[in-house]
């Protein structure tokens, strides 16, 4: 037989290779599927997987580091996955994971958006993998409907928005004009955090919201928007409320370029640069969700259930979907947060839900 062209040969070769590879993975997945008898796993058989958007984001990188710290604590290692904020890529990675050995698989996942959560949950349920999700979940999906979806952890954005709002009001002496930089307007985080600011403004009637604009959570856009607002409102601006630290840092750059050092700036997320700015005194406050703890706790919940130290049925409904504690960081306590570290005691099976601030209503 004679090939008519080289491309044909290449195509056939690739097809054969693909078929061979497919055969291999087929075999590997033969043992998996449907193993939901809790507690059947020896500790050394547990596979730990942490998945976030990307490691170029300091917060998400610290999340994976926290996962590594927990894995080391129990003598295992964590598989670090990133999907570049691409929903399709996230689903592909999950599908690949679930096609492998899923009996003792523990996944701590940051879904890209609300709509990405359900396919992941249903995949894990079918494959019998233990799943903890954080931040994003459609409001109408109930964790207790699924046996393998152990817990969903998130943070009360209203609370964090209000905390920094209050800190800002205090920093400007309880009265004066502020501007607000909102996040991506159609995200729950942006909406909740801004609602928190509005609540804070009600409690501080002498603080006036001069203007509010969106900078889409971006440092670069916040720079441009803040510069514009500084020319518009000038010296009336005493404080800047930003829905995340990246925008707060952009606002700080704008203030520096405008030669203003009399404006208080607050943000949320506690990224390293913001902590440095708070240490230097250029920024007033931020709120930390404790990324390393988030990276560890999801794996810890899954690990405790997989090894049988905690029965899935014993997790109360209130601990299936809950708000975790967050911390206001100001100049007074910034030193405690400067080097993110995890506390081993937080990940002990009897201690997993100690940071709960209540169930998500």
């Amino acid at each position: 037989m004679k090939f008519t062209s080289r491309p044909t040969a290449v195509v056939i070769g690739l097809t054969l290779a693909a078929a061979a590879l497919a055969g291999c993975s087929e075999e590997a997945s033969g043992g998996g599927g449907g193993g939901s008898e809790a507690g059947a796993c020896a500790p050394e058989d547990v596979t730990l997987v942490g998945q976030v958007r990307n490691e170029s984001n300091p917060y998400e990188a610290s999340w994976l580091d926290g996962g590594d710290a927990f894995a080391e604590q129990v003598g295992l290692s964590q598989q670090r996955l990133t999907y570049d904020g691409d929903s399709t890529k996230q689903q592909e990675q999950i599908t690949q994971l679930l096609a492998g050995d899923t009996d003792c698989l523990v996944m701590n996942i940051l879904p890209n958006g609300d709509s990405d959560t359900l396919p992941i949950v249903e995949g894990a349920q079918e494959a019998g993998a233990y799943l903890v999700t954080q931040w994003n979940k459609p409001a109408d999906v109930d964790v207790t409907d699924y046996s393998q979806w152990l817990s969903h952890i998130t943070y009360d954005g209203v609370d964090s928005g209000q905390q920094i709002g209050d800190a800002l009001a205090e920093a400007i002496g309880g009265s004066g004009g502020i501007i607000a930089l909102q996040g991506i307007l159609d995200t729950g985080a942006a909406k909740d955090r801004f609602a928190g600011l509005e609540a804070s403004l009600e409690a501080n009637p002498d603080v006036e919201l001069l203007d509010q604009q969106t900078a889409n959570f971006s440092r670069d856009e916040a720079l441009a928007v803040t510069k514009t607002l500084l020319t518009k409102h000038g010296d009336d601006i005493k404080g800047i409320w930003a829905a995340n630290d990246d925008m707060a840092l952009g606002a700080l750059a704008a203030l520096e370029q405008a030669g203003r050092d009399d404006v208080a700036v607050v943000g949320i997320d506690a990224v390293p640069d913001a902590l440095t700015a708070i240490e230097d005194g250029t920024m007033t406050a931020t709120v930390s969700s404790d990324g390393p703890w988030q990276g560890g706790i999801g794996l810890a919940i899954g690990y405790c259930v997989a090894t049988g130290e905690l029965a899935a049925d014993d997790i109360s409904d209130e601990d299936r979907a809950w708000f975790a504690e967050q911390f206001l960081i100001t100049g007074d306590n910034v030193a405690d947060f400067a080097s993110p570290a995890v506390d081993e005691a937080d990940f002990e099976c009897g201690n997993l839900f100690s940071r709960s601030q209540g169930a998500i209503s």
């Binding site: 170029s56 440092r219 020319t231 520096e256 370029q257």
Partner: protein, 337 residues
Amino acid sequence: MTSPAQADTEDVIAPRPQPRRGVSLRDAGPPIALVVIIGIFAVLSSDFRTVGNVQNIMDAAAVLAVATCGISFVLMMGSIDLSVPGVMGASAIAVALLVANNRNGNDLGLLGVLVAILLGAALGCLSGVALVGLKVPSFMTTLGVSAVGLGVATLMFAGVQPNISDEMLRGWAVNRFLGLAYLTWIAMACVLVGWLVQRYSRLGRYAYAIGGAEEVLALSGVKVAPYKVAVFTLAGSFYALAGVMVTSQLSAGLVQAGAGYDFRAITAAVVGGTLLTGGRGGVLHSAVGVLLVTVLINGLVQVGVSPYWQGGVQGLIVVAAVSAAVIPQRRRNQVTK
């Protein structure tokens, strides 16, 4: 004395449309739109018509102007370039790591800026080589190069934000000359250089010709491929400079430094009258487009349009501006399509 006048009259009644008249009409659209929009905002908002705000608009336009300068050459050629976010990200991080910073002991100063721009040029060159060598459409090659650039940036980023302490680079964003930040003067210099290249160099004139009628150029014995690679390389250097400017403004190297600049630059170029089909427009058109887009964003904030409305309103005005700009060349569009 009478014969030139007669010649003119003959030209006017000649059956073929007179080229000069076409040029002036075609080019007038975007500047008129710019003046109209500035006029409307100036009437509506007293905050808009201040000297401080004019400075602000010029400063805010700087980065986009440099990126758009680069993309204009590619668009003139009839290609498209989506590599802006990747190239800007890579150069933003590279320069942050090469000048004085908190991550390593480098302190290369201006040389660091130069290296970052060379990195951008190399990435641009890669786009061009893939385009002419592998005959992959520019849409795909540049998208791939953008991913490569972001990958390089992420590798260099390595989990810790590089913050710059280099006084020169930080000074570009803070220090002012005649009321405008140094960065704004750099952007204006770029537009001038871009215009000179486009107008007087063989590279610029061939870019036009490639966009207008590549086959004709090839048939007349010109080797097109090297010029295409050169155009992408030139564009890459402009994006890299834009990335350096973002780093200067934020005092930090960000992987996401160029996020969104691809479509913002293409929008600005098209609003300014550069055709996506190639062969029309250029650096000065794009500069007008950049001002149009920047004035629009600034004006909507100054006038006090709710942020929930701004995205939609911006889009509508851009579409209106583009349609207004292309009305004079509608007939020409019908001929080319």
